[in-house]
């Protein structure tokens, strides 16, 4: 993060976090801003239909798969220093070492990250971000929010997303004329993923009975699983509940 940006961003993050809403009792889905969220969801679905889906389709059709993979590897490699910073902030020495090694291997043997030899050496990608750092630091997830363009999130991860956007240490190695490279690689990577999982995403956005609740449910369950590495038994699907007497 450039020092010029660091202070306002951290201040904004602190303000947002202190404003995190919390439910009175732990609930599985805490969505007090549903009305606003649904409007943003409408916007996101419209954006996908008009722009993201057609663009990803063109990208996936025109650019051959090996090239898309290299773009994705390149984007992931540029992100890796940011993972290391967050690993350190989380006090996770093991992952910080893992990701540092991964970055060194892929930046050299992997030709500036276009290839991913690290994975075959057992140094697979271990993504993290400031949202996870905030989780490790003990912040609550807050209310469910759907962000424009970025999609499903919660208050804690919304802060994480903003900090992640402006805090990639790699950007300091690019000259001012090259600053477009990391975000462009990221967007291309997202388009590639949208193309690769087109059936799944289309199914969710265009075939669900209510794509808003479907996206919310998938996001909340998956995000909690990612962060805790398990499924909370308290919120498990329990078809026997309420039928114990039979």
């Amino acid at each position: 993060m450039t020092p010029r940006l660091a202070i306002p961003v951290l201040l904004a993050a602190a303000t947002l976090l202190s404003a995190c809403a919390t439910p009175d009792t732990p609930t599985e889905v805490f969505d007090p801003y549903e009305q606003t969220n649904r409007q943003i969801h409408q916007f996101n679905v419209g954006l996908d239909r008009a722009l993201v889906r057609p663009t990803s389709n063109a990208y996936g059709t025109v650019i051959p798969q090996p090239v898309r993979r290299s773009v994705s590897n390149f984007a992931n490699n540029l992100d890796t220093p940011r993972f290391v910073v967050n690993d350190i902030l989380q006090g996770n020495v093991l992952d910080a070492g893992h990701n540092t090694m991964r970055f060194l291997v892929n930046s050299t043997l992997g030709l500036a990250g276009l290839f991913d030899p690290a994975t075959s050496f057992g140094l697979e990608t271990r993504r993290t971000g400031f949202g996870e750092t905030l989780f490790v630091w003990g912040n609550e997830e807050g209310a469910y929010v759907e962000l424009p363009v970025f999609g499903p999130s919660n208050q804690r991860d919304a802060v994480g997303t903003v900090v992640d956007l402006v805090s990639n240490p790699i950007s300091s190695i690019f000259s001012s004329g090259e600053q477009w490279i990391p975000p462009t690689a990221n967007v291309a990577d997202r388009l590639g993923a949208r193309y690769e999982f087109a059936d799944t995403v289309d199914g969710l956005l265009y075939e669900s009975a209510d794509s808003y609740t479907a996206a919310r449910s998938l996001y909340l369950q998956n995000r909690r699983f990612e962060l805790t590495g398990g499924v909370d038994d308290e919120f498990a699907f329990d078809p026997f509940e309420g039928f114990d007497d039979e």
């Binding site: 998938l218 699983f225 498990a236 699907f237 509940e241």
Partner: protein, 200 residues
């Protein structure tokens, strides 16, 4: 008992299985039996997705997998909740039947994307209602991901009643999804039963 024998016995019991069974019995099913069930399910899924057969053939294989190894009546009960209690036994049978077709088509298509990959069963642990059997899906060119089966004893047999992919419970997703579908039909269960197989 050979695998085929065991399979036909399971299928026979599934066909006879009553709709009234609601709560799981005390752990007469062992962790080994729960794991064996998931091994069998996973072997059949792996066989189906890598069979190279047509989509229609694969989807009907998935229907058979649900028929034999899933507790579809229990899943139906969990998805409908209070509506299940109010339903007639004919509606219960109709809904379970429709749900089986819907789930097989919807998730058969998803699992078809796993072609070229395989699912590896890992371990089993006891949970509140039975067992959680964890497995890993390994797909070419992708990071492996977690697929967990929730297994309970239903009518003396191990059956799975939920599949949890990377923390996402298909039971919970479908409870919401089908709940919305029922609301859209103003709570008309017969209409939902008629529409459900066509919804996937």
């Amino acid at each position: 008992m050979s695998k085929i024998d065991r399979r036909s016995v399971l299928a026979g019991l599934a066909a006879l299985g009553s709709l009234g069974v609601a709560a799981p019995g005390q752990a007469a099913v062992s962790t080994a039996e729960a794991t064996a069930l998931v091994n069998q399910v996973v072997a059949e899924i792996n066989g189906a997705i890598n069979s190279g057969r047509s989509e229609g053939a694969i989807l009907s294989q998935f229907e058979t997998i649900f028929q034999r190894y899933a507790a579809v009546e229990i899943i139906s009960q969990g998805i409908l909740g209070p509506e299940w209690r109010a339903a007639s036994s004919q509606q219960k049978r109709g809904f379970a039947q429709a749900l089986r077709v819907y789930l097989a088509r919807k998730y058969g298509r998803r699992f078809k994307e796993f072609a070229g990959g395989r699912i590896e069963v890992q371990q089993s642990r006891q949970s509140r209602r039975g067992y959680e059997v964890t497995s890993r899906a390994v797909l070419p060119g992708q990071a492996p991901f977690s697929v967990m089966f929730r297994v309970a004893e239903i009518g003396g047999q191990p059956k799975f009643y939920d599949i949890v992919i990377e923390g996402i419970s298909l039971g919970k997703v479908e409870r919401e999804e089908i709940g919305v579908m029922l609301d859209r039909r103003r709570g008309n269960l017969n209409q939902l039963i008629a529409d459900l197989p066509k919804a996937a």
